[in-house]
Symmetry: C2
Subunit: 344 residues, 2 copies
């Protein structure tokens, strides 16, 4: 298993170690003639740089890590694609870690990422207990940017979408459609985005003097959780049952949609649904979903750019908190019910 290193290349090309390194890292400083000779040797030997050695000596890595809540949620894959674009354009590499909404796995990933001395970290943290941990990374010289999550922290950037506003848009729309009994479906509430969306919706109801926002908590933000929540809702007596659901994200909404239909309720006739994220599948659902759109790829791209900027020049970098605006997209799942007054 003779690893062919820079040394053998040097010998074969009849030059010194340093020259080979120069060909690799500062081609201008070496005569075209020798350069060619070295490249030929590299080719013939099938030499491949050893990134660990390179990184060890150079002290800086070219890879950026992103830790997301759920890789199988299209929202995050779009964010990842945006980040990927920015990172690769800068000649780096993005590695994707999935915390799966599990704090233990999140911590494990942070450990690994720290051991790898990555260039920087993009993360959508789970709870609030990450502060000291991320703080430590920053102290260590690893810039951190919060993704899809606002932050008052003065020593890190964040890129987010105004979730409270998103919640308001959703609730506002449902109120205008005449709904009185509205439920928020989602969880866990320890995820800030979930809590914010709920708060935004609750605020609107309060302003309108409507009944309080019901909360149907779920354990996670998946279609399965949405389906389970819908079952519980179907089981409620009709008089108390909400006439509209505002779901914490589209996966939950899609699951709820299935659950309601399975339980014999019609959407939007009996129960209207508003989702969140406006993933591609929202418009392709059995009943196309009204949803709150977020600029997914832009979110990822912006976060990555901020991160790279900080990594390139930590000294001069000023932390920023970018907040995008969400946008309501109305579709059939909240179409006005014909022949049935909800406002009564």
């Amino acid at each position: 298993m003779a690893e062919t290193g820079i040394k053998e290349v040097a010998r074969r090309a009849g030059v010194s170690l340093g020259t080979v390194s120069n060909v690799l890292n500062r081609p201008q400083t070496v005569t075209p003639q020798t350069r060619k000779r070295v490249l030929k040797a590299i080719e013939e030997l099938g030499y491949v740089r050893n990134d660990s050695a390179r990184h060890l000596r150079a002290g800086r890595s070219r890879t950026v890590a992103i830790v997301v809540l759920d890789v199988s949620n299209p929202f995050f894959t779009d964010v990842v694609r945006g980040a990927e674009e920015a990172v690769e354009q800068a000649g780096g590499m993005l590695i994707v870690c999935n915390s799966g909404e599990d704090a233990t796995r999140e911590r494990r990933h942070l450990d690994t990422v720290e051991e790898q001395r990555v260039r920087g970290l993009l993360i959508t943290p789970i709870g609030e207990g990450h502060h000291k941990r991320l703080e430590r990374l920053v102290k260590r010289g690893i810039p951190v940017v919060l993704v899809d999550r606002g932050s008052g922290e003065p020593n890190q950037c964040s890129v987010s979408v105004d979730d409270v506003l998103g919640g308001r848009l959703a609730a506002q729309h449902l109120v205008e459609r005449g709904h009185r009994r509205i439920a928020f479906v989602g969880g866990p509430l320890s995820i800030r985005q979930v809590a914010d969306r709920r708060d935004g919706a609750a605020a609107v109801l309060a302003e309108h003097g409507r009944a309080e926002l019901q909360i149907v908590q779920t354990r996670s933000l998946t279609t399965v959780a949405g389906r389970e929540a819908a079952e519980a809702i179907c089981a409620m007596p009709a008089a108390r049952r909400p006439t509209a659901l505002f779901c914490a994200n589209d996966l939950v909404a899609l699951g709820a949609l299935q659950g309601l239909v399975a339980g014999g309720l019609r959407v939007p006739h009996d129960v209207a649904i508003v989702g969140y994220d406006d993933i591609d599948f929202a418009s392709a659902a059995t009943v196309p979903l009204t949803s709150v759109r977020q600029p997914r790829e832009l979110l990822g791209r912006t976060a990555a750019q901020l991160l790279l900027e900080e990594a390139d020049d930590t000294a001069r970098h000023g932390h920023r908190h970018v907040v995008f605006q969400p946008q309501l997209v109305v579709r059939q799942s909240t179409a006005a019910a014909r022949g049935k007054s909800l406002t009564r």
Copy 2:
């Protein structure tokens, strides 16, 4: 930026370099007393292993890479989740790379992965031009397992699903439903899975003496591509227009569904659709999609297990080619058209 290394830990704990290393790697060989002392020093100094140095010296990495065709395709995210599970269980880490069906990006990822000297590589390659490249990785001691792709290669494992059979199942079903003009929608055909599915379908038609399978090629396997294909199909004269589509995957099928509806055709009344993969969203579509199901997570998990087995004991490892069976799931998108004979 004083990197606290093993050296400082040793000094603080009043032991030698080697002892600290032993505490980290072979805790049994060190007295509980000194071990505690070292751990305390580690804690106090906030020491974090430098993975590059570790890897450089040890020669072997703990990370496994997976290169997929499209991270935003739920099929692959499920495969990734399966692989992740197996890798993490073995104490490793999985890094996810997205080739985006782009050969250049695939090559870039292979380069990086090779430079990183990863423990092993899981890959769903794009075309056929990867042979020598992967061969080289294997020669270098990096085991490679092909995912979702069969292989006759004797020196690498592969885990796949019988795509020809999948194509047969789809076509068989459509033929039984009475369809005569059937089109295959998907591409590029350089992706083996796509070609295999088409071939399976074509074989069935041939056996039944039916008209040839029409091919509507797409540039990629996305909803956008499916929508475009559907537009082309809508534009065909009704007499020549296929009465059923077999789409290379569910994303294309979902896009086609949208495109057909937008073009004024009803599904399944005017045109039936069969998708492939049976991703979660297939059953939640406007018209729930008949699809060919693949064991997605199992695929990923099995591939990772095979890889780890090989990495752990290259010498004794015997290469295997695991092939799973796909399964047809019938839903509304191919429901028998009422009051209209397709067999005329």
